[in-house]
């Protein structure tokens, strides 16, 4: 059998820089690796000496796509450390903003980054010519999600009005009613897009490898903004225990921090959330989960993109319910945060589009940060991607090299990796 040598440098249609390496000879694999070549930015180092009210503004810059999630994890960590209380209105608004980010990120990933694989093209651009109707529908959903973030958070990328304790500006009831109507109007479009994906879902490989899934869990909602840490292997822990769940470590062949819990590796993200919180999904989301035959516990990582699509319905339906709650009570636009600075340590977790995210800060009595730690979803998935590679590659070695390469790329893309979130995503050292 021929030699297979695949070296995808700087994988495309993912956020950040990563490489795929596969060397096989006579049907056996000599090396298969998912490598990360992102430049380090040292966020945990640079926030030392910064004030409590600057933390979210700096750490949201970890990620362009999930800057809202980083903002919320950051605010929760700061609030926990300083003992800052938030109002019910703030908690609902933040849930809405989290849902808006989920929608924006999921539509971008499924519509712009994954769909080209299902249609066997290199990017979304040729689809503008061949499938204009579908592309414009996806674009309109992307715009809606961004408009929702802009309205609630001031800006989609790097929010402008979110601060410890609440908000510096709050939308009017009229604007919130308008948003509710836009979400209601978008349901048929989401349905059309989901149907297109369903019609083409045959392109998703049928690959299963048992793993552990970790996500936020809550008693009364599909947890994305708040909750405890849950595992499909059983168990529930408070966020403060995050270090005993993530167990970051460094392996000799990679200087990236890996994580592991019960098994060799674990997975976070939409599929993990759906596997753990399936019963809390909204009605439409459940209907679509059934159409895709997706039920817990699904161990096919390619279904993560489908789980994202199903979450879109959940985000729309729960957002409408939250907006009703806000409007029923009346919106207090004059509410402003009250903060007293004191020393302390606090942790915050949210489940961002790519999975569970932790921020952990320590402040001195002047409110100056002295120590920070951030554990990023993609970091937690890195190990699982490598384990998937080891199980998946042998099953596709008989295919043409080009197809093997595409399938490995699709596997990484399914995780929707966000490599720039490289707080401490170390560069991989490899020997050629």
């Amino acid at each position: 059998m021929a030699e297979i040598n695949i070296n995808v440098e700087h994988l495309t249609r993912v956020e950040g820089h990563g490489n795929i390496v596969l060397n096989a000879k006579d049907g056996s694999i000599e090396k298969i690796q998912w490598q990360v070549s992102e430049a380090p930015r040292f966020f945990e180092s640079i926030v030392r000496g910064r004030r409590w009210d600057e933390m979210a503004h700096i750490t949201c810059r970890i990620c362009g796509i999930c800057s809202i999630g980083h903002t919320e994890a950051s605010l929760k960590a700061t609030e926990s450390a300083l003992g800052i209380e938030t109002s019910e209105q703030t908690e609902i608004l933040r849930r809405l903003i989290k849902a808006a980010e989920n929608l924006q990120s999921h539509v971008l990933h499924v519509g712009y980054l994954v769909a080209p694989d299902l249609f066997k093209v290199g990017s979304v651009f040729p689809l503008i010519g061949t499938h204009p109707d579908a592309v414009l529908k996806i674009v309109s959903l992307h715009r809606l999600a961004n408009e929702m973030s802009d309205l609630l958070a001031g800006r989609t990328t790097h929010p402008t009005n979110m601060v410890p304790g609440g908000f510096t500006s709050i939308p009017s009831e009229k604007e919130l009613r308008g948003l509710k109507q836009s979400l209601l109007d978008a349901v048929p479009t989401f349905t059309d897009v989901a149907q297109i994906v369903l019609d083409n879902a045959g392109g998703l490989p049928d690959f299963t490898r048992e793993t552990e899934f970790i996500a936020l869990v809550a008693d009364d909602e599909y947890a994305i903004y708040d909750g405890d840490i849950g595992s499909t292997d059983g168990g529930r822990w408070p966020v403060e225990d995050y270090k005993s769940i993530t167990n970051e470590f460094v392996v000799p062949y990679s200087t990236a921090k890996f994580t592991k819990h019960n098994r060799e590796s674990y997975m976070v993200g939409a599929l993990a959330r759906l596997n753990l919180n399936y019963t809390k999904l909204s009605p439409l989301a459940k209907q679509w989960a059934a159409k895709f035959q997706l039920s817990p516990v699904c161990h096919n990582p390619f279904m993560n993109s489908v789980a994202q699509l199903i979450e879109c319905f959940n985000d729309v339906e729960t957002s409408i319910a939250w907006l009703d709650q806000l409007l029923e009570k009346g919106v207090n636009r004059d509410e402003r945060p009250k903060v007293e600075v004191k020393a302390g340590r606090g942790m915050g977790a949210v489940d961002v589009p790519r999975g569970i995210l932790f921020h952990d800060y320590t402040f001195n009595d002047q409110g100056i940060c002295t120590k920070a730690n951030c554990v990023i979803p993609t970091n937690q998935n890195h190990n699982n991607i490598n384990q998937d590679f080891k199980a998946f590659a042998p099953t596709i070695l008989d295919k043409p090299e080009e197809e093997i390469e595409l399938l490995l790329e699709m596997l990484v893309r399914a995780y929707d990796p966000c490599i720039s979130c490289s707080c401490h995503y170390l560069d991989v050292k490899w020997k050629r």
Binding site: H10, T12, R13, V14, E15, S37, E38, A39, P40, R41, F42, F43, E44, S45, I46, R48, R50, E54, H57, I58, R61, I62, C63, G64, I65, L108, Y112, L113, G122, S123, V124, I128, V135, L136, V139, H142, R143, N146, G154, T157, H158, T160, N161, V163, F167, T168, E248, F249, V250, P252, T255, K257, S420, C421, C423, H424, L426, D427, V428, K429
Partner: protein, 260 residues
């Protein structure tokens, strides 16, 4: 006439500026009619080194990044810095306050068993210091901001396609803030970089009730004395000033000068 060939590249950044191009939404369809996008790793698999215009996001960190940027400069007729990381070095430039060894120790120290893994002998870890593009190669134009404003990106693109100089404002954020009749941030007890910071964002942060952090850098000739007077009027300390000044503008501190 052939459509100009345009490429997008990213270095150390959150890639949020490239995301603003996707956020043009329906207008992307119009943009694609005007230009041929021949490289854009974040959204397309195809890649060509034959391009006229290069948009580059991110700060330049390691020797390998310098080499990559120099190649892009050789290939491109026009090179445009996209966003605060490319323009100023980004928030990550704050890490230049410490040596790279100190940064590595703080971030990875507890997790590394073999110090070689994060040593300069690892090419992906060689001397990480964050710099702006124009500290490495010649840059033709800058689209400032963290992130860039998508409307401004469209304006700059159109100007370049017409062979004109892109219209980037060179007056402070206060001008836009006053036009919007916002309450001055200093009046509500906040610290604002508006008097020194380059406008063009429509005073987005102050309009949302939050202070300006000068993500677009300083105007060419900042009225530093005026800023000092404002600070004095509101009783702010020198320490607070130095801290706040640096979130996006550590470049100026490093260079020991007041403008770009």
């Amino acid at each position: 006439m052939d459509k100009p060939r345009v490429a997008f590249f990213d270095f150390s950044s959150c890639e949020g500026c490239q995301l603003q191009i996707a956020n043009l939404e329906e207008a992307v369809v119009e943009v694609v009619k005007l230009i041929d996008i021949v490289a854009f790793r974040e959204v397309m698999k195809e890649h060509s080194d034959d391009y006229d215009i290069a948009f580059v996001e991110g700060s330049i960190t390691r020797p390998m990044d310098v080499e990559r940027l120099k190649k892009i400069r050789e290939n491109a007729e026009i090179l445009i810095a996209l966003g605060a990381c490319a323009h100023l070095g980004g928030v990550q430039r704050l890490s230049n306050q410490w040596t790279s060894e100190e940064n590595k120790q703080e971030v990875y120290g507890d997790y590394v068993s073999d110090p070689d893994d994060i040593a300069d002998t690892n090419p992906f870890f060689e001397k990480p210091r964050h710099r702006a593009l124009d500290e490495v190669v010649e840059v033709d134009y800058v689209i400032p901001g963290c992130p860039i404003d998508k409307g401004e990106f469209a304006k700059v693109l159109i100007a370049i396609l017409q062979g004109k100089k892109p219209p980037i404002p060179d007056y402070p954020v206060c001008v836009e803030c006053k036009k919007k009749e916002n309450v001055c941030m200093f009046e509500i007890g906040k610290f604002c970089m508006g008097p020194l910071a380059r406008a063009g964002c429509d005073a987005r942060c102050p309009s949302a009730g939050n202070e300006c952090e000068a993500c677009r850098g300083y105007v060419s000739h900042p009225h530093s004395n005026a800023q000092s007077d404002v600070l004095e009027k509101y009783g702010l300390t020198a320490d607070a000033i130095m801290q706040r000044k640096t979130m996006f503008t550590y470049r100026y501190e490093e260079a020991g000068k007041g403008g770009d």
